[in-house]
């Protein structure tokens, strides 16, 4: 028995591979649920209803999906160019804290239509800058950016902690370490009344479409893909490798920073050190589930968010730890890797 590379990658297989991967992950996680002594099918049904069963649940799922779309895009654009940005978590936090700092300052006196875009840009810029450090280390010293971007996550969270317990601390928060709230005028308008869903979702979806157009239609997209697939081939064709990677890193870090900015302006209004339940890391899973396709990222983010939101209710009803959602989602990353492999290879006897 051996593995043989397929000459063609059947489109059908590529399209169903995420479904197969998710099904396999659910099946494996089902064993854990059964081990915990709960009815498996009921548990999954409760996750579905918990995520989409009511208007409130559905808006909550999409609220949760919003930052995931952006961090998923951050990972997807970077991975496609073989820039291993695992630092989206840190970039999310610096984006968030930058918005909190500026949104609570005198800058908030800017007129509304100017204020929100300015804060978006500031958050994105902060994320960019944080990603440029690992990339610079890679280009200058050939240090693997995986480890450096990962380590920077811890630095970034500590930096945020330093600020929310220091200069940015909200004196009205009864001693809790949280930042000053951003001005009310910096808060994002709601998409649906009486819910937490805000226009950030529209921004995230627009970002996905823009990234898709960038990748499929522009010279930048073509060059990025070339640089990712074959650095030697791209260099021979005159693609400026360093510059292309810098652009990719900016785009990726910027998207993650924007995610942090939007989360602050759309949901909380202030920053704490538990603002993100691992959005940066989940973004990697989202990107892989989407096979790095920007539009697929939207669906993958909604799936991931649904797991997290749905698992909350299911957990309360059946007494299964909510971490089952993390297990399912991370398992789908592994099963997706295998599924993608078999779109490229087949088993021959």
């Amino acid at each position: 028995m051996r593995l043989e590379r397929r000459a063609h990658r059947p489109l059908f297989l590529v399209l169903v591979s995420p479904l197969i991967a998710v099904a396999a992950a659910l099946a494996i996680a089902g064993i854990l649920i059964a081990m915990a002594g709960a009815p498996v099918l009921e548990a999954y049904w409760r996750i579905v209803t918990g995520a989409f069963g009511t208007r409130l649940a559905a808006t909550e799922t999409f609220t949760r999906a919003t930052p995931l779309i952006l961090t998923g895009l951050a990972a997807a654009v970077a991975f496609r160019a073989r820039v291993w940005n695992i630092g989206a978590e840190g970039q999310f936090y610096v984006g968030a804290i930058t918005v909190a700092a500026l949104g609570s300052s005198t800058l908030a006196a800017l007129p509304g239509p100017l204020l929100i875009p300015t804060l978006f840009a500031a958050g994105a810029l902060a994320g960019m800058l944080l990603m440029l450090l690992p990339l610079w280390l890679r280009l200058r010293f050939s240090v693997d950016e995986v480890v450096t971007s990962l380590l920077l996550n811890f630095v970034a969270v500590l930096f945020v902690s330093l600020l929310v317990e220091g200069v940015l601390k909200d004196p009205l928060a009864f001693g809790w370490p949280q930042s000053l709230p951003v001005s009310e005028r910096a808060l994002l308008p709601k998409l649906i009344m009486r819910s937490r869903l805000h226009i950030g979702l529209a921004v995230a979806v627009a970002a996905a479409i823009i990234v898709h157009l960038l990748q499929s239609r522009t010279v930048f997209g073509l060059r990025t893909r070339a640089a990712g697939l074959s650095p030697a081939g791209a260099a021979f064709a005159g693609v400026p490798l360093g510059l292309t990677l810098v652009k990719v890193a900016c785009l990726s870090g910027g998207l993650a920073g924007l995610a942090g900015a939007i989360e602050v302006m759309g949901v909380k209004g202030y920053v704490t050190t538990d603002l993100s339940p691992g959005y940066g890391y989940s973004g990697i899973i989202v990107a892989m589930l989407a096979n790095l396709h920007p539009v697929g990222v939207i669906a993958a983010a909604v799936f991931t968010a649904a797991m997290f939101v749905g698992a909350d209710g299911m957990s309360r009803a059946l007494g299964i730890p909510t971490y089952i959602a993390d297990v399912i989602v991370s398992l789908s990353l592994l099963t997706m890797l295998v599924a993608l492999f078999f779109t490229q290879y087949r088993i021959r006897r």
């Binding site: 010293f141 480890v147 892989m288 993390d326 991370s330 990353l333 890797l337 492999f341 290879y345």
Partner: protein, 314 residues
Amino acid sequence: MMALFDILASAGLWAAVLRIATPLIFGTLGAVLCERSGVLNLGIEGIMTFGAMVGWLTVYNGADLWTGMLVAALAGAVFGLMHALLSVTLGLSQHVTGLGITLFASSLSYFLFRLNVPLASTPPTIVPFKPVSIPGLSDLPFFGQAIFTQTMPTYLAILTAIVMSYVIFRMPLGLAIRMTGENPHAAEAQGINPVRIRYSAIMAGSALMGMGGAFLTLSAFNSFFPTMVQGRGWICIALVVFASWRPGRALLGALLFAFFDAFQLRLQPVLGDRVPYQIFLMIPYILSIAALALVARRAKVPQALMQAYRRGER
């Protein structure tokens, strides 16, 4: 100035260095073993987390401490097997495979922990390893307290470094591992099965990572809580480069690193009113990044690191 000297002269500092270094020694040695065979194992952070959880849980359920260590090692090996299936047999990206294992292993740890130990305001504890005094040596002034009052796993970690150094540089097995990491095709041409070597190296290396995690809950602390590994795995990956893939230097690197960490812990109370504690906590991560930048250019990376090996494909 006096304060600095007092810190350096206290036996407590040096005892802490060894304690802080132990999980890093295990983890770095595990990563060295994997990378010597040509596989980057980014599953380390999750495997350490799982080791910490499962080791603790085993002891919590009544088994003795060494059984806890053993279970953690076995669990590590199982995740190693999973990594090898994906990265060796299927030849998938080692980056993505490792991150996937980390995410999966950590969430599974949290799930299993919460399943067995319901939420409580104070986490339940176990009785951890006790310091072992070595007759004669422990009575030495200063050194006795500083070095020879560790728990058994710490001595085991140091012993492992020496043994691994011997295996890699003195045994035929070590040569086979090095050759596989440098050029798996050459290894195969000499009758060595690179796939089997990589599987074994990843599984053994991951077992060490699991033990490093278990040290945290069975010796350094006495309870488990999520996110307790705190990026130690990533620091180990950086230490591997710093140690240029040599077990002896991995030991030294971990000790050096632990020294800075122990030192800053003791510096905190002294400078605490002037410098926020977060700055101190950042130091290990920044130090790791700086170390990487410092040595990466000169590093003698195993030539086949991160390259999938498929028979008959060049």
